[in-house]
Amino acid sequence: MGNLAFKIGLRYARSQAHNRFIRFISASSTIGIALGCCVLIWVLSAMNGFERELKNRLLSVVPHIEFSAVNATGITDWQSIAANLTQNKEVLGVAPFVRFSGLIQNQNALKPVEIRGIDWQAEQQVSDLKSYVSANAIARFQNKEGVILGAGLAESLNLSIGDNFDVLVPQLDKDKRLLPPKSIRFELIGLLKTGGQLDHAVGFTQLPLAAKATGWTQGVQGIRLKIDDVFNASKIANELGYSLPVYVYVQDWTRQFGHVYNDIQLVRSIMYLILALVIAVACFNIVSTLVMAVNEKQGDIAILRTMGMPANSVVQTFMLQGLYHGLLGTSVGVGFGVLGGFYLSDWLAWFERLIGFQFLSSDIYFIDFLPTQLVWSDVWITAVVAIVMSLLATIYPALKAATVDPAQVVGKV
């Protein structure tokens, strides 16, 4: 019986003989569902994109975990500590650093900056710095003392490659006296362009140069870890921190950029709710479409009942018909959604060029373009939600179809 119900339901759904008006409403339900699915997939892939960018772009430069020495001698033998840390499968790489923050002064502008002394070779294991810095800047960095500065910072201080600039660095004084800040001269040898806030706050220099500037002469100030599961960095940081032979301050990226991750999750859940609501309301239209169809097909139902079609297959017929609209809407929506999942950022970039307005400004958001990342599970979940909702929407009218009393209908005409 199933396939007969399918044959009839499908014929009803596709036939244009319906009165013009049912087509209008069924179109509205299909469009509503398609819209809901499409926009939902777009939003979800944008959120996935932001998460990927957070992980690959921001967190490829920002240290995941930092252990900085408590006492002034610093971490003398960081290689051996690094060696046993990398035994742990979570840890992908370890590198030393000496970090100091100061103020860059140029004419009347005074900009705060955090400069990290790094060992270029070791840094490759923990950060993806090289993909945000020009090739010859890397070359210069490896054989000339100098600083790679965030592009935004250099621009606001109107410094260009080769210029020298002074960094006022506080001098720590054991017995609390206010020593004058020391002014250290650096040469600008490269620019860092991540397209986000980092460009306005960070600089890199060679490890020895930084050590000289801050007084961490024997050991290094701390070690930086690259871990696999970035999103529970704080848990891993605490575990590993206590296992170290030397007293360290434990720090992870969430202290400074955790709010970015939280905002992404928040927007994702709000959008899910709203768009599920849109799909639900669109499904109401399926209900009304089906009711109209049932009303119009009363004659057919009656005669089918006279021919001995049992009630449950009448129900099946109209559920399939209703589902047809739901499936159509879902597949169209999912289709465009998947398309958007791949090309949304290009479309937006083209649109931004068209109207000359930059949606995401780099000093507020951590990136300045809309990234998208299509995750197939999002697609399936959206499709299933939409189909289930449209299925539910068919139940009431389909049951009503079964209650049509053939005698009333057939006899009267």
Binding site: F21, F24, I25, S28, S29, G32, L35, G36, V39, S101, G102, L103, Q105, N108, A109, L110, K111, P112, L168, V169, P170, L172, D173, K176, R177, L178, L179, P181, G258, H259, N262, L266, I270, M271, I274, L275, L277, V278, V281, A282, F284, N285, V287, S288, T289, V291, M292, N295, F359, L360, S361, D363, I364, Y365, Y396, P397, K400, V413
Partner: protein, 411 residues
């Protein structure tokens, strides 16, 4: 044209129990859809307004709305210039104010900041900092006392408490001595710490404008820079416009230079939210269309008989427009009422449900900031009703188009 008969019939139809139980089912959903959309819109937008106004109150409490520089040639008629400024519409207060880039240094650390020279007595009643002092006294900033008010988070970073000394250095105004350039610097005593809850708190420190003038080597009473407090930082263009007209010489700078993009981003996020939520109402109004069509379908016999007794198409259209509108209005009204109710006690409800509030500690204590703009509520309700009006046009038109002969022939 307004014909009471149409209203009479429409009212009876919409209130009457529909013969077809199903139509009331669909009507319920169309009303529910609209009110759901309206509730969501009012609540979410009010919360976003709340965020924006919090942001505005805190950040634009610390960052000056507008700063005017009085050119030297107008310095002698400065006083009546200031009085005129005070009478400007939307200007709430005018206080002496000068801001210079600089840094503060403690034995522990050094931070870049903006030094804001103020007159504590004049600005006490407008300044958000004055009203958020946690330790020490705001009015200690006497001239030449060389006291400074800093944010508590900054104090923690510098590891200083009220009474400690910190060094304040300006980026410009250096003195050239035979031993090279000596930056202008002076030791200040921390006389109070504050927490205005904005993330720009640690970017500013407050000293008396006389002290700042001295550091800048200006004559003490040479106050040529003033801060304008506006009642709403957002209607800046208006004030700026008539200022530049009335006082051509005045050099005016405003908050948009530094924080413009932040509020631009907030506005963009709000617009996106508007669009998404309006989608719900739009799709819901489709329900009205289908519900009304079914009523027309259900009542086609009565329409035919009404036509036979001479009812004109226009009257018939009015009957069904009014009936559809009735549903739209009910949906909009219910949505508005519940939206307002939900908005006003959103926080108790949220805490009841144990829903975690945002990561930002500032909001954790007193919950989500909520700012209901009545004009927005009116706009949402009226657009919901307008949409439902549009939704009724098609079915009403169809009702008028029914051909009585066909219908009556079958009976």
């Amino acid at each position: 044209m307004f014909n009471s008969t149409s209203l009479f019939i429409a009212h009876r139809y919409s209130r009457g129990s529909h013969s077809n139980k199903f139509i009331s089912f669909i009507t319920f959903f169309s009303v529910a859809g609209i009110s759901l959309g309206v509730i969501a819109l009012i609540t979410v937008i009010s919360v976003m307004n709340g965020f924006e106004s919090e942001l505005k109150k805190r950040i634009l409490g610390v960052i000056p709305h507008m700063v005017v520089q009085i050119p030297d040639n107008q310095m002698n008629e400065r006083q009546e210039l200031l009085d005129q400024l005070k009478q400007q519409t939307d200007v709430v207060g005018v206080t002496p104010f000068q801001q210079e880039a600089g840094l503060v240094q403690s034995p522990q650390d050094m931070r870049a900041i903006y030094v804001q020279g103020i007159d504590p007595d004049a600005s006490a009643k407008y300044s958000i900092i004055a009203s958020n002092v946690i330790r020490g006294e705001f009015n200690q900033l006497k001239p030449r006392a060389y006291n400074v008010v800093i944010a508590q988070p900054l104090a923690d970073q510098l590891n200083v408490r009220v009474g400690d000394k910190i060094r304040v250095m300006l980026a410009k105004g250096s003195v050239y001595t035979p031993m090279g350039r000596m930056p202008v610097q002076r030791n200040f005593t921390v006389s109070a710490t504050f927490n205005a809850g904005s993330d720009v708190d640690s970017n500013v420190v407050l000293i008396n404008i006389v002290d700042l003038n001295r550091m800048l080597r200006k004559k003490q009473d040479e106050l040529n820079s003033y801060r304008l407090y506006l009642d709403d930082a957002f209607n800046l263009n208006l004030v700026k416009q008539n200022l530049t007209q009335q006082f051509p010489g005045l050099k005016v700078s405003d908050w948009r230079a530094t924080k413009g993009e932040l509020f631009e981003a907030v506005k963009m996020e709000k617009n996106m939210m508007w669009m998404m939520l309006a989608l719900i109402i739009a799709v819901a109004t489709f329900n009205i269309v289908s519900a009304l069509v079914m009523v027309v379908n259900d009542k086609r016999v009565e329409i035919a008989s009404l036509k036979t007794i001479g009812m004109t198409n226009r009257q018939l259209i009015l009957v069904f427009v009014l009936q559809g509108m009735y549903k739209g209005c009910v949906g909009a009204v219910i949505g508005t009422v519940f939206g307002i109710l939900l908005t006003f006690n959103l926080n108790p409800i949220m805490s009841l449900l144990g829903v975690g509030v945002f990561a930002n500690p500032a909001y954790a204590m007193q919950g989500l900031p909520i700012d209901l703009h009545w004009h927005q509520v009116a706009y949402i309700a009226s657009s919901a009703i307008a949409m439902s009006l549009i939704a009724t046009l098609y079915p009403a038109y169809r009702a008028a188009k029914t051909n009585p002969a066909e219908i009556l022939r079958y009976e």
